[in-house]
C-alpha cells in the first residue's frame, strides 16, 4: 500500500509540472499579448511561476519521499525530536527574502500601469485629452468620443455602442465610467483590467502594439446578463482611425442622436 500511496503523492508534482509544460501546446496559456506593458506582466507571472514551481516540486517530492521512507514497517521507534532552532531560522529567513524579492519586483510595473502620475503625457490622446469616455451599463458598452472641440460632455460628442476603436502604437488614455452597477473593463490581449465604478470616473491607459479586433470582456459580475456583456476593441492604424471617426461623425449627425443610442 505504501508504494501505491507514495505514487499518488508523486503524481501531484509530476502531472502538475507536466500540465504547465504542455499548457501552451494545448492552448491553455496566455492569449497573445498586444499591449506595451503586457510583456512585463507575463514576465512577472513567469518569475513567480518559476519560484513557486521550484518550491512546489521540492516540497511535494519531500512529502512523497518521507511517506515512503519513514513507514511504520521499519524497526525501532521514530526519531525523538521536538524541532531544530537552526532549521526554523533557515526556513524562515530564505522564504522571507524570496517573498520580499517577489513583492519589490512587482512594484515598478504596477506603478507604471495604474499610477495616474505615471500615465503617458503629451501625446495626442493622453491625460490632458483622453480619447473617449467608456460607459458600462447592464449589459453593454458605449463609447463617447469628444467631437471637434476635444471635450467630453458637450453637444458635439459622438456616441457609439459595442465597438471601441483606437489607433495602434499610440498611448491611449480613456475614462471608464459606469451608469448602474459595478462592471469591469477587461481585454485579455492587453493584460488590462479595471473595474468601472458607478459614481467615479477612472482614467485608464494602454498602448496597443498590434492591429486587430479583440474581445472586450466584462469581468465583474453585473447581473443575469453578465455573460453576454461583450464589446469589441478594434485597433487600427492612425489613418484608418481618422477615417472611422469621420464615418462615426457622419452617421451620428445624419441619423440624429437617437441612432447612436
Amino acid at each position: 500500500m505504501r508504494y501505491f500511496f507514495t505514487l499518488m503523492l508523486l503524481l501531484v508534482p509530476i502531472l502538475g509540472v507536466w500540465t504547465f509544460v504542455e499548457a501552451d501546446r494545448w492552448q491553455l496559456w496566455f492569449p497573445q499579448n498586444v499591449s506595451s506593458f503586457g510583456g512585463e506582466i507575463d514576465g512577472l507571472f513567469n518569475l513567480i511561476l518559476y519560484m513557486v514551481g521550484f518550491t512546489f516540486i521540492v516540497t511535494e517530492l519531500a512529502l512523497a519521499w518521507f511517506v515512503f521512507k519513514f513507514s511504520a514497517n521499519r524497526p525501532g521507534k521514530a526519531v525523538f525530536t521536538h524541532g531544530s532552532h537552526k532549521l526554523e531560522m533557515i526556513w524562515t529567513a530564505i522564504p522571507a527574502v524570496a517573498l520580499l524579492f517577489i513583492a519589490f519586483s512587482q512594484m515598478e510595473t504596477w506603478a507604471k500601469v495604474k499610477f495616474e502620475s505615471n500615465f503617458p503625457k503629451g501625446g495626442k490622446y493622453t491625460k490632458e485629452r483622453p480619447i473617449a469616455e467608456l460607459w458600462a451599463s447592464q449589459f453593454d458598452w458605449r463609447v463617447c468620443y469628444p467631437g471637434d472641440d476635444g471635450a467630453i460632455g458637450t453637444a458635439d460628442d459622438l456616441e457609439r455602442s459595442y465597438e471601441f476603436v483606437v489607433p495602434v502604437n499610440t498611448d491611449i488614455v480613456f475614462h471608464l465610467r459606469s451608469r448602474d452597477v459595478i462592471h469591469s473593463f477587461f481585454v485579455p490581449e492587453f493584460r488590462l483590467k479595471q473595474d468601472a465604478l458607478p459614481g467615479h470616473t477612472i482614467p485608464v491607459w494602454f498602448r496597443a502594439e498590434k492591429e486587430g479586433i479583440y474581445d472586450l470582456v466584462c469581468a465583474e459580475l453585473c447581473g443575469w446578463g453578465h455573460y453576454k456583456m461583450s464589446g469589441r476593441m478594434t485597433v487600427v492604424s492612425q489613418a484608418e482611425f481618422d477615417k472611422r471617426m469621420a464615418d462615426i461623425k457622419a452617421e451620428w449627425f445624419s441619423n440624429g442622436k437617437e441612432q447612436g443610442q
Binding site: 500511496f5 501531484v12 502538475g16 500540465t19 491553455l28 496559456w29 496566455f30 492569449p31 506582466i41 513567480i48 513557486v52 518550491t55 516540497t59 519531500a62 512529502l63 518521507f66 511517506v67 519513514f70 511504520a72 521514530a78 526519531v79 525523538f80 525530536t81 521536538h82 524541532g83 531544530s84 526554523e88 526556513w91 522564504p95 517573498l99 520580499l100 513583492a103 512587482q106 510595473t109 504596477w110 506603478a111 495604474k114 499610477f115 460607459w135 447592464q138 463617447c144 452597477v181 459595478i182 469591469s184 477587461f186 485579455p188 483590467k193 479595471q194 477612472i202 474581445d215 470582456v217 465583474e220 459580475l221 447581473g223 443575469w224 446578463g225 455573460y227 453576454k228 461583450s230 443610442q261
Partner: protein, 610 residues
C-alpha cells in the same frame, strides 16, 4: 480515584461547565434526560457538536449539488439537465442565466457560512475543545445551545430565499452593491438578497456566541497542569480562529445591517449619486436627471472594504482549525512529536495578525487608490511566510517518523500536498501587476478551492476519520475509507488543477456562457473534462456517507484510545458520557510525546506521571 468520587458525591447537581476546571464529573450518575432535553435542547457540547456536524453535512450536500449544476452549465451551456425538466418547466430543464447567477452566489454562501465555518468551529470545535483541554463541558453550556439555535433562523432565511419572487440572492457571495441593493438591478435583489442578509446576520450571531464560549473555555477551563504551551495545536487553531471571529465578525454584521437599511429604508450608504439602473434611458444617457438614487451620495467601495475586512480573515477562519487538525493527526499517525511546536503556534498567530491587514488584495482592480494596492501587496506576500513555515514543520514532523498510512493520515497528508498548491498559487494573486490580468479569472477559483475544498474539507475528512471513535465508540471501516480517499484525492486534483491553466488563458469566473466570447471558445473541451471529474468526485462521496452512517451503528467497537494518541480526549471513555471524564486529570506534559526513549511504549499520555 477516591478524590474524584468524593468530589462527584459532593456536588451531584452541577450543570456541565460548572465547578472547577479539571474537576471530575462522574457521567453515569447523571439522571436520564428526556429525548428533547438530550438531543434537541441539549446543553452538552458533544451533542451540540453533532447538531452542527449533521446540519453542516446536509448543507454540504446541497452546496455540492449546486456546484454540479454550475459545472454542467460550464461544460454544456444551455443544454437541458437530464431528468430535471420538472424543476425548471419554463426552460425544459436548462439553466437560465438568472438561475446560474443565483447558483454560484448560493454555492459560495452556503459552502462558507453554512458548511465550512459550522463544521470546523461548530462541529469539531464544540466536540473537541472541552475534551482536549480536560474540561467537563464548555464554560457557558446554555450559550452554546443558543449558538446552535441561532443557526435555525439562519437556515430558515437562507432556505426561504429560494422560494421568494425573483429567486435567491444573485449578486455573488460577495454581494457588491449597487447590484445587490438596487431592486431593479437583478432578480435576486428583489427579496432574495434580504433573506441572504438576514441569514448571514444570524450565522454571525451564532458564530459570535460560539467564539465567546470557545475563548473563555480554552482560557479558563484547562485541566490542572495544562499550560497554554502544552495545548494541542487543534486547540490553538480553534482559539486563534475564535479571536479572529470576535474581532472581524462585528464588521460584517454592521455592514450587513447597513446594506439592509439601503435595501429597506432607502438609505444610501453604498449607493452612489445618479445611478440609472435597468436601462432606464433619460434624454442624454450621459448626465441624466431621471436617475435612480439621484442624491444618495454613497460609496460602493465602502461595502467592499467592510466586507473584505471580515471575509479575508474568514479565509483564515476556514483554514486555521484545519491546520490544527492536520498537525495533530500527522503527529499521532507518524508517532513523532510536532516538529517546532512553538514556531507552529507563532506562525498561526502571525497568519491571524497579518490576516487583518491584507483585505485590500481583493480590491486591486476595484478602483481603490493604487498606492494602497502596493502596501496590501507587501502584507499579502508576507502572509505566505508563516504558511510556508507551517508546511516545512509538517514535513519535519513526517521526517524520521514511523508513519501508519491509515485513512485519517492519508487525508492529512493530502491536506499538506494540496495546501501547498493553494498557498503557492496565492502569490500570483498577491502580486498586483499579475493580478491585473488574473483577477476574477479561474486561477482564483483554482486557488481558493485548493485552500478551502482540497485543504480544509480534506482536513475535515481527516478529522472525521480520526475522531470518529471518540464520537461514537466505533471506528469507520478502513478499507472503504481508503477507497474514499483514493477517489477523492484523484478526482479533486483532476477537477481543480487544470483550472489554473484555464485561468491563465483568461477565462473569467461567474460567466454563464463563456463561449459567447471568441477568446474563450477553445476552452470548452477542458471545461468538459473538469465537469466530468467534478461529477466523479461528487459521486465518490457516497463511500463516505455510507461508511459514516454504517460505522455509526455497526462499526467495530474500540476502546478509549485506538490510535495510541497522547492528548487528553483519549483519556475519556468512547463515547464520553455527560461530563466527559471519569477520573481526576492532572497534566504533566505536552500532547506530542511520541517515541520518547524514556518509556517502553512509543507514546506518553499527557496525564501520565513518570
Amino acid at each position: 480515584m477516591s478524590q474524584a468520587t468524593t468530589h462527584a458525591a459532593n456536588s451531584p447537581h452541577l450543570e456541565p461547565g460548572e465547578g472547577e476546571a479539571g474537576t471530575v464529573r462522574a457521567h453515569h450518575d447523571h439522571h436520564e434526560l428526556g429525548f428533547l432535553r438530550k438531543w434537541i435542547f441539549s446543553v452538552d457540547h458533544k451533542v451540540i457538536g453533532m447538531q452542527f456536524l449533521f446540519s453542516g453535512l446536509v448543507f454540504l450536500a446541497l452546496g455540492g449539488l449546486m456546484a454540479m449544476a454550475i459545472r454542467y452549465q460550464l461544460a454544456w451551456p444551455w443544454r437541458p439537465m437530464p431528468g430535471l425538466a420538472w424543476m425548471f418547466p419554463a426552460t425544459g430543464g436548462a439553466i437560465s442565466p438568472e438561475f446560474y447567477t443565483m447558483l454560484f452566489t448560493m454555492h459560495g454562501t452556503i459552502m462558507i457560512f453554512f458548511v465550512m465555518i459550522p463544521l470546523l468551529t461548530g462541529a469539531f470545535g464544540n466536540f473537541l475543545i472541552p475534551l482536549m483541554i480536560g474540561a467537563p463541558d464548555m464554560a457557558f453550556p446554555k450559550l452554546n445551545m443558543f449558538g446552535y439555535w441561532a443557526m435555525v433562523p439562519a437556515f430558515f432565511f437562507i432556505l426561504l430565499g429560494f422560494f421568494v419572487e425573483g429567486g435567491h440572492a444573485a449578486g455573488g457571495w460577495t454581494s457588491y452593491p449597487p447590484l445587490s441593493t438596487i431592486e431593479s438591478a437583478a432578480p435576486g435583489s428583489l427579496t432574495g438578497q434580504t433573506c441572504w442578509l438576514l441569514g448571514l446576520t444570524w450565522v454571525g450571531v451564532s458564530s459570535m456566541m460560539g467564539a465567546v464560549n470557545y475563548v473563555t473555555t480554552i482560557v479558563k477551563m484547562r485541566a490542572p497542569g495544562l499550560t497554554m504551551m502544552r495545548l494541542p495545536l487543534t486547540i490553538w487553531g480553534l482559539l486563534i480562529t475564535s479571536l479572529l471571529q470576535l474581532f472581524a465578525l462585528p464588521v460584517l454584521t454592521a455592514a450587513g445591517i447597513l446594506q439592509l437599511l439601503d435595501r429597506t429604508l432607502n438609505t444610501g450608504f453604498f449607493t452612489p449619486t445618479n445611478l440609472q439602473v435597468n436601462n432606464i434611458t433619460p434624454d442624454s444617457f450621459l448626465y441624466g436627471a431621471d436617475a435612480v438614487g439621484a442624491a444618495a451620495g454613497g460609496q460602493p467601495l465602502l461595502w467592499q472594504h467592510l466586507f473584505w475586512f471580515y471575509s479575508h480573515p474568514a479565509v483564515y477562519i476556514l483554514v486555521l482549525p484545519a491546520m490544527g487538525f492536520t498537525s495533530d493527526i500527522l503527529a499521532v499517525h507518524a508517532r513523532k512529536p510536532i516538529f517546532g511546536y512553538k514556531p507552529m503556534v507563532y506562525s498561526m498567530s502571525a497568519i491571524a495578525g497579518l490576516g487583518f491587514i491584507v483585505w485590500g488584495h481583493h480590491m486591486f482592480t476595484s478602483g481603490m487608490n493604487p498606492a494602497l494596492g502596493m502596501t496590501f501587496m507587501v502584507s499579502t506576500v508576507m502572509i505566505a511566510l508563516p504558511s510556508a513555515i507551517k508546511v516545512f514543520n509538517w514535513l519535519g514532523t513526517l521526517w524520521g517518523g514511523r508513519i501508519h498510512l491509515r485513512t485519517p493520515m492519508l487525508f492529512a497528508c493530502a491536506f499538506v500536498s494540496m495546501f501547498i498548491i493553494g498557498g503557492l498559487s496565492g502569490i500570483w494573486m498577491a502580486a498586483t501587476p499579475v493580478d491585473i490580468y488574473i483577477h476574477d479569472t479561474y486561477i482564483v477559483v483554482a486557488h481558493f478551492h485548493y485552500v478551502v475544498f482540497a485543504g480544509s474539507l480534506f482536513a475535515i475528512f481527516a478529522a472525521a476519520y480520526h475522531w470518529f471513535p471518540k464520537m461514537f465508540g466505533r471506528v469507520m471501516n478502513e478499507t472503504v475509507g481508503k477507497v474514499h480517499f483514493v477517489g477523492s484525492f484523484i478526482f479533486t486534483n483532476m477537477t481543480f488543477y487544470m483550472m489554473h491553466q484555464v485561468g491563465v488563458a483568461g477565462l473569467m469566473r461567474r460567466t454563464a456562457d463563456p463561449y459567447a466570447y471568441d477568446v474563450y471558445q477553445h476552452l470548452q473541451p477542458i471545461n468538459e473534462f473538469i465537469t466530468i471529474s467534478a461529477f466523479c468526485m461528487f459521486a465518490w462521496q457516497i463511500f463516505f456517507v455510507v461508511n459514516f452512517f454504517h460505522s455509526m451503528f455497526w462499526g467495530k467497537r474500540v476502546g478509549r484510545n485506538p490510535w495510541n494518541a497522547a492528548s487528553l480526549e483519549w483519556d475519556a471513555p468512547s463515547p464520553p458520557g455527560h461530563g466527559n471524564f471519569d477520573r481526576q486529570l492532572e497534566v504533566y506534559r505536552g500532547a506530542y510525546e511520541f517515541s520518547s526513549p524514556d518509556v517502553a511504549e512509543d507514546f506518553i499520555p499527557q496525564t501520565r506521571k513518570l
